[in-house]
């Protein structure tokens, strides 16, 4: 193993990973009306984290994002189940979603839908599982 200098890769990563994360957030929120959604958004966020893992190392990523990805998977599943079970409080069947139009201060009239909460659960589960798999494989000596 030779000593190498990754200055170009690390500088490019600092710029591109933010662009990838912004693109994944766009994919996540655009999923209701255009192609996209929680699954591909989570995969893109995991791709940005994988790019950080490639340019730096596992310890650096642990320092800047101290997440336990297994807990993240569990939290995403909990959010999805609670969203589905919340409809039982209003005497409607399991998994019934609701939406309404609200006047938000900056965005104007926006339709807020409870399917977004379920999508947040999918997003967190996808990020958690992908990062768990990649970190577990990468750590084996």
């Amino acid at each position: 193993m030779r000593k190498t200098n990754d200055l170009i890769l690390q500088t490019v990563t600092k710029v591109i990973s933010f662009i990838i994360i912004l693109f994944s957030i766009h994919l996540f929120f655009a999923g209701h009306y255009t192609p996209g959604g929680g699954f591909i958004g989570g995969l893109m966020t995991a791709a940005a984290l994988v790019l950080l893992l490639l340019a730096y190392d596992i310890k650096t990523l642990d320092n800047i994002l101290p997440f336990d990805y297994k807990l993240m998977t569990a939290a995403g599943l909990l959010i999805a189940v609670l969203t589905a079970a919340g409809s039982l409080l209003f005497n409607v069947p399991f998994f019934t979603h609701a939406y309404d139009y609200f006047d938000l201060p900056l965005l104007g009239e926006t339709s807020l839908h409870t399917a977004v909460l379920f999508d947040i659960g999918v997003y967190m589960v996808v990020i958690g599982i992908t990062m768990t798999i990649i970190q577990t494989i990468g750590e084996s000596e």
Partner: protein
């Protein structure tokens, strides 16, 4: 008129992809194959752009950006494996 132009460009891109696939199969060293796979991904992006012009839709535009990001990450991962012998390091030794 536009359909004819786009079809001709699709045929040209397909011919260039055949040349790239020849380099992937024949390529004497591994870096040749990595560069060929990267340019295959870029040609695939142009195919998707041309097809979305042909089908008069804009729902494939996310796929273009997605393929660009994936081709970049894949090429970086292959290059790091060729350079250092491992893809994800536990701790950077410098």
């Amino acid at each position: 008129m536009l359909n004819i132009v786009v079809s001709i460009s699709l045929i040209a891109v397909a011919l260039s992809m055949i040349g790239i696939v020849y380099r992937v199969i024949k390529g004497p060293t591994t870096p040749d194959r990595v560069i060929a796979l990267d340019s295959l991904g870029i040609s695939l992006i142009s195919v998707i752009g041309l097809i979305s012009v042909l089908m008069r839709t804009s729902v494939f535009l996310e796929v273009i950006l997605l393929l660009g990001i994936l081709a970049f990450i894949g090429t970086v991962a292959f290059s790091k494996y060729l350079e250092k012998g491992e893809i994800i390091q536990r701790e950077r030794d410098q």
